[in-house]
């Protein structure tokens, strides 16, 4: 395995999450939800973020209620704050003390640059939440309107992260089977959550070998846009501008990781959050509610139910089992709905009979819960083959970049509704197993060869770095 030199670039240079010292009330609600205790300050005083500890998960951004009031005196004008935060000037929503960096302006500029060929991908969690920003009920499922809006914004290709999630299952499922059958490092952890990856790098670098070498779906999509996608669309890769819409703020950090350039260019040029996409849509004067259903471009946008459930805790595991079961036993899994892996915040464990093998799995959501498993590994008591870890409370649908509810009492409802919509979407899709995706099959046949093959290894797998 060739060693690439990977440079360690942290958040200090380009912080994703910051706290506005003029607005912070020191109420400490963010401190209570920070999974890595990266927020410091006395009660009643403005808080600061330890960027060396921060994993940019954005839960503080979601909970912060210290808004800039028109009655506050002695604070910088709204225009100045909006410029500091990289917000479009048309944004009207209130500003809060804890905020993430804004990249909407870069996307707007790229869309109006006729020299660029813009490709966009949206995470599974975006389509069960974006409509909330337009007044629809919490958790409304609107993939068609989402695709239509992206088309109307002017993206040349409306591709999808869910397609890449299906690819991730092919790679990661194969990797798991390889580790299990050849005595590789177990348990294997999922690596699609960038906050989780940064956490391992800075807290348990000695356990990095446990992480799957697979890139996240976002990064797999990005690198495929500028290689396979360039071929399919007959575009020069240097002209491709790769945009990703995520429920996650840490994905902004992930796309800037120096090693994420296996296409020969920045695999993902810019990440914007669900909220930023809604702001772009409003800025362009598009009436989201009035849009007719749109479609994704098939080559890199066709997806199965297995891909879309990546957005909820237990979803990656369920997708992996639907495919892994068939890869090992050569038979289809009897029931596609693996309710025993689904659930809420915490640690869930299960044993799954796959042919002669009893696969022991765990699903962790809420990064603080991951520490339990890590300590078990160090103590030698961890008895799992495969562990899925998601930093945010119920998975990506509860991510730091998702629409932010106004009332605390609506938060659990937003989680429950977005989760339910994700499974409804999965249940109603014609294809529900990643390996059945014809676009994925074509990708391998025409371009990649085989999972874990030479091309896959070069483009779709990565290495990690110690940040201790």
């Amino acid at each position: 395995m060739s060693e690439k030199i990977i440079s360690v670039i942290g958040l200090d240079a380009n912080p994703v999450i910051q706290i506005d010292q003029e607005l912070c009330t020191g109420c400490l609600r963010c401190v209570a939800v920070c999974p890595v205790d990266a927020i410091e300050g006395a009660k009643g005083q403005p808080q600061t973020i330890r960027q060396d500890l921060c994993v940019a998960c954005g839960q503080c951004v979601q909970i912060c209620s210290a808004y800039a009031s028109i009655f506050d005196e002695g604070i910088a004008p709204r225009e100045q704050k909006m410029a500091e935060r990289g917000l479009l000037s048309s944004v009207k929503e209130p500003l809060f003390a804890a905020y993430n960096s804004g990249d909407g302006l870069k996307v707007k500029a790229a869309l109006s640059d006729s020299d660029l060929f813009t490709m966009v991908q949206c995470a599974p969690a975006v389509r069960v939440a974006i409509a909330e920003e337009f007044g629809l009920p919490l958790g409304s499922l609107t993939p068609g309107k989402m695709a239509a809006a992206l088309r109307k914004l002017g993206f040349d290709r409306v591709y999808d992260t869910n397609f890449a999630a299906d690819v991730t299952i092919m790679e990661e499922g194969s990797e798991l089977i390889q580790r299990v059958t050849t005595g590789g490092t177990l348990p294997m952890f999922t690596s699609c959550c960038p906050a989780w990856v940064k956490y391992v790098e800075q807290t348990y670098p000695e356990l990095l070998a446990h992480l799957s070498s697979c890139k996240s779906p976002q990064q797999m999509a990005g690198v495929l846009f500028k290689t396979y996608g360039a071929q399919v669309d007959k575009v020069a890769p240097e002209k491709i501008f790769s945009v990703s819409v995520m429920p996650c703020t840490c994905k902004k950090f992930e796309c800037d990781r120096p090693e994420m350039n296996d296409s020969g260019y920045r695999d993902v040029d810019v990440v914007i959050t669900t909220r930023e996409l809604a702001q772009l849509i409003k800025d362009a004067g598009i009436d989201f509610l009035d849009l007719a259903e749109g479609k994704f471009d098939k080559a890199l946008g066709n997806y199965t139910g297995a891909g879309t459930i990546f957005g909820v805790t237990g979803g990656v595991m369920e997708a992996a089992l639907r495919t892994g079961y068939e890869l090992i036993t050569k038979e289809a899994i009897p029931d596609l709905n693996l309710n025993f892996v689904r659930g809420g915040e915490g640690i869930r464990k299960a044993s799954v009979k796959v042919g002669d093998l009893t696969l022991k799995v765990a699903m962790v959501s809420g990064l603080k819960n991951a520490k339990v498993i890590m300590e078990q590994i160090k103590a030698g008591t961890a008895d799992y083959h495969f562990v899925e870890v998601m930093c945010c409370p119920v998975g990506c649908v509860s991510g730091g970049g998702q629409p932010k509810v106004l009332l605390p009492s609506d938060k659990p409802t937003s989680y429950a509704n977005r989760t339910a919509s994700t499974y409804v979407h999965d249940a109603n899709l014609p294809l529900r197993k990643s390996h059945d995706n014809p676009a994925v099959q074509k990708l391998y046949k025409a371009f990649l060869g085989e999972p874990l093959g030479h091309e896959s290894h070069h483009l779709l797998h990565t290495q990690y770095v110690s940040r201790k």
Binding site: T25, G44, A66, E93, E132, F134, P137, R275, P403, L406
Partner: protein, 169 residues
Amino acid sequence: MERLLPFVIADSEKCTGCRVCEIACHAYHHVVGKTIGTVIEPIVPKLYVQRNGRGAAPVQCHQCEGAPCAWACVPQAIYFDRGRVMVDTTRCDSCRDCIEACPFGAIQLVPDGETSLVGNKCDLCLGREQGPVCVAQCPSQALRLINPPKEKRTKNRQAAENGKYLVRK
């Protein structure tokens, strides 16, 4: 109707100054969706979180029995309705005398549409069956809707229970 007008008070020991009450107040009184992204006007609450070095608490209308704001209002836009002191914004002429009159600063003048300013004060969420939304949403349960006669009687009872300790033979 209550004998004395109820009102919301804050426990400054519990209040963290987080401003959820202000956001919830605005959300109840304006047409918004469930998320921040649906808020298109500046947040204009009817209670105002104050912070000094030692603690925090929101200030809001005491629903005074002899409401000085109503006395001061020349167009008589402030009156009592269904157990609370209300502002009839159609009669308000933005003269600001109510702001001068209120010793708590509980009444404000806020934008109403593009061109006018009108009186704005706590209305105990008239129309909300479960009562004031600030009380319901406070993450620290620092706010309470109090019924003054009931508060008084509770304290009388407590004082009476302690009464036996005060007398000597």
